[in-house]
């Protein structure tokens, strides 16, 4: 259920867009954890508050799968997974998982919690997730854009970020 033990390469903006099937602001509604082949997985039912890009189907709710959770008297921690807490909204980059469920692209790096400003007159913003495990910068690739997704979205007003995602999505999924 917790997330404290992984090492990952920081995901770039281009990669996060390219490897996702959809992006949306969602709010978790409930969670259920089950054993699958010796591991615990948690399925979280999320309400899709705002579909930003890609295909999420007609339903206003989807199930998102993450590793770790608690089943009865046993819990499992898998660091670097997205942390989906009931009632707390996030922008999620999503990809198809098993049996119609969704996985969070790049695990915790595909989650950007929505944080309200202390001034209620100001709009909510996205922040980078710290539930990502230890992060390493990506190796430089000649000719490639190396902006990190977290650098692009952290601190952005939700409305502005949604517009940028929608615009960049078209380019990333052009072919």
């Amino acid at each position: 259920m917790d997330a404290r033990a992984s090492v990952s390469i920081a995901v770039t903006w281009d990669t996060l867009l390219r490897e996702s099937d959809a992006a949306a602001i969602v709010t978790p509604v409930e969670a259920r954890s089950v054993w699958e082949a010796g591991r615990i997985y948690t399925y979280t039912r999320v309400h899709v508050d705002r579909a930003i890009a890609g295909e999420l189907g007609a339903s206003g709710e989807r199930w998102v799968r993450t590793m770790g959770g608690v089943v009865g008297k046993i819990g499992q921690l898998v660091e670097g997974e997205a942390v989906l807490a009931v009632g707390r909204s996030s922008l999620l980059f999503l990809r198809a998982g098993p049996a119609g469920t969704l996985d969070v692209t790049a695990r915790g790096q595909g989650q950007f919690p929505v944080v309200a400003d202390v001034d209620p007159a100001k709009p909510a913003r996205l922040v980078r997730s710290n539930a990502t495990g230890a992060l390493l910068p990506p190796r430089a690739v000649a000719g490639a854009t190396s902006r990190l997704a977290a650098d692009v979205l952290h601190g952005r007003v939700v409305e502005e970020a949604a517009g940028d995602i929608a615009a960049a999505w078209s380019r990333a999924h052009a072919d």
């Binding site: 259920m1 917790d2 997330a3 404290r4 033990a5 992984s6 090492v7 990952s8 390469i9 990669t15 490897e19 978790p28 409930e30 969670a31 259920r32 954890s33 089950v34 054993w35 699958e36 082949a37 010796g38 591991r39 997985y41 039912r45 199930w63 799968r65 770790g68 608690v70 089943v71 008297k73 046993i74 819990g75 499992q76 921690l77 898998v78 670097g80 942390v83 807490a85 009931v86 707390r88 990809r95 998982g97 098993p98 049996a99 119609g100 469920t101 996985d103 969070v104 695990r107 919690p113 922040v127 997730s129 710290n130 495990g133 230890a134 992060l135 390493l136 910068p137 190796r139 430089a140």
Partner: protein, 335 residues
């Protein structure tokens, strides 16, 4: 000689000054807890958890307690999957992990009133194992296995995750039951020789991961091995800092006690169990065999089946909930 009375007195003094000390806290090391930190929170020298953490944990589905995790036994084992990796041959892996673990178990703790000495945990390599899957079995033997994935990464993040540690624990106490580590060796790692400027140092990565194996969380100290960011081309994470030592000694102090939440033991401590590195429910080299009794039996289509079952159960449960109000979540088959 350390006594419970001394420890209790220290705990009382610590509690008395906890709020003021937090503002000037020099120690940045943090412990992994059974409740996930809110993703927007980042540990810092000012604190390992947000102020409202207990409330946050209680609001989760299912509600959780923020208990630190810990190994009860004085001796813990690990095993390396016998195939190891093309990048890291078995013998190299044995030597590398022995070195990484020994950095943590070889520290000398210096803890004022509670005395000084080695950390009260040791680690034993039980040898190569056949099992190449992360799993915890409540009805069969286990192994704390280290697995390299050379050809494909079995999770949804093949291009980003380099190392993954899965810790299985008792959610009522925080006691660690099992820990398995996976290395994504589809990605290039620098195991020996000169470290390129953009290279990922294998020893740095596994020294960090073995810290998690013991229950260490990320530190707010940017010089610590347990800091959450690594600078490519560097080897600094190979060497523990004072902050790392403080962290491991707080979990496994020299007197062999385990500091736990008051809800776990009224004294706030539990004595370690006598040295026995055997995994919970016994040691076995092979992966567990499917028992065929429930939906969690280990087979290749478990994910799809469980997802379908969860979705179906949720539809039914959601209908009932709307009629009857909230109820507890579904329990799985194997614990």
């Amino acid at each position: 000689m350390r006594t419970d009375a001394v420890r209790a007195a220290v705990a009382c003094v610590a509690a008395l000054f906890a709020s003021s000390a937090a503002e000037n806290e020099a120690r940045a090391s943090c412990r992994t807890t059974t409740c996930p930190l809110p993703p927007e929170f980042s540990p810092s020298p000012a604190g390992c958890q947000p102020a409202d953490f207990a409330t946050y944990c209680a609001s989760l589905d299912p509600p959780s307690q923020a208990l630190p995790v810990w190994w009860r036994n004085a001796c813990v084992s690990y095993d390396i999957q016998r195939d190891a990796s093309r990048q890291v041959p078995y013998e190299t892996a044995v030597q590398s992990f022995a070195a990484a673990f020994s950095k943590w178990t070889g520290v000398t703790c210096s803890d004022g009133a509670l005395g000084s000495g080695p950390a009260s945990v040791s680690v034993t390599n039980l040898g190569p194992v056949e099992c190449d899957q992360v799993q915890y079995n409540s009805d069969q033997g286990n192994q704390h296995v280290i697995i390299f994935h050379d050809d494909s990464w079995p999770y949804n993040d093949p291009n980003n995750t380099l190392g993954l540690t899965t810790i299985t624990f008792n959610p009522d106490t925080g006691e660690i039951y099992d820990a398995d580590m996976e290395i994504n060796s589809t990605q290039p790692l620098t195991v020996s020789g000169p470290l390129p400027a953009d290279g990922y140092d294998f020893m740095s990565i596994i020294t960090h991961e073995t810290g998690h194996f013991f229950g260490m969380a990320h530190s707010g100290d940017d010089l610590a091995t347990m800091f959450a960011h690594y600078i490519p081309g560097t080897t600094t994470m190979r060497k523990l800092t004072a902050d790392d030592v403080t962290g491991i000694c707080s979990i496994y102090p020299p007197d062999g006690m385990r500091e736990v939440a008051m809800s776990v033991a009224a004294s706030g401590t539990i004595p370690e169990d006598a040295c026995d590195p055997t995994p919970r429910h016994g040691f076995q080299s092979q992966c567990a065999q499917p028992d065929g009794k429930g939906c969690a039996a280990a087979d290749g289509d478990g994910g799809a089946r469980s997802a379908a079952l969860v979705a179906a159960a949720a539809l039914i449960a959601g209908t009932r909930r709307r009629r009857r109000g909230p109820r507890s979540s579904v329990a799985g088959a194997r614990i």
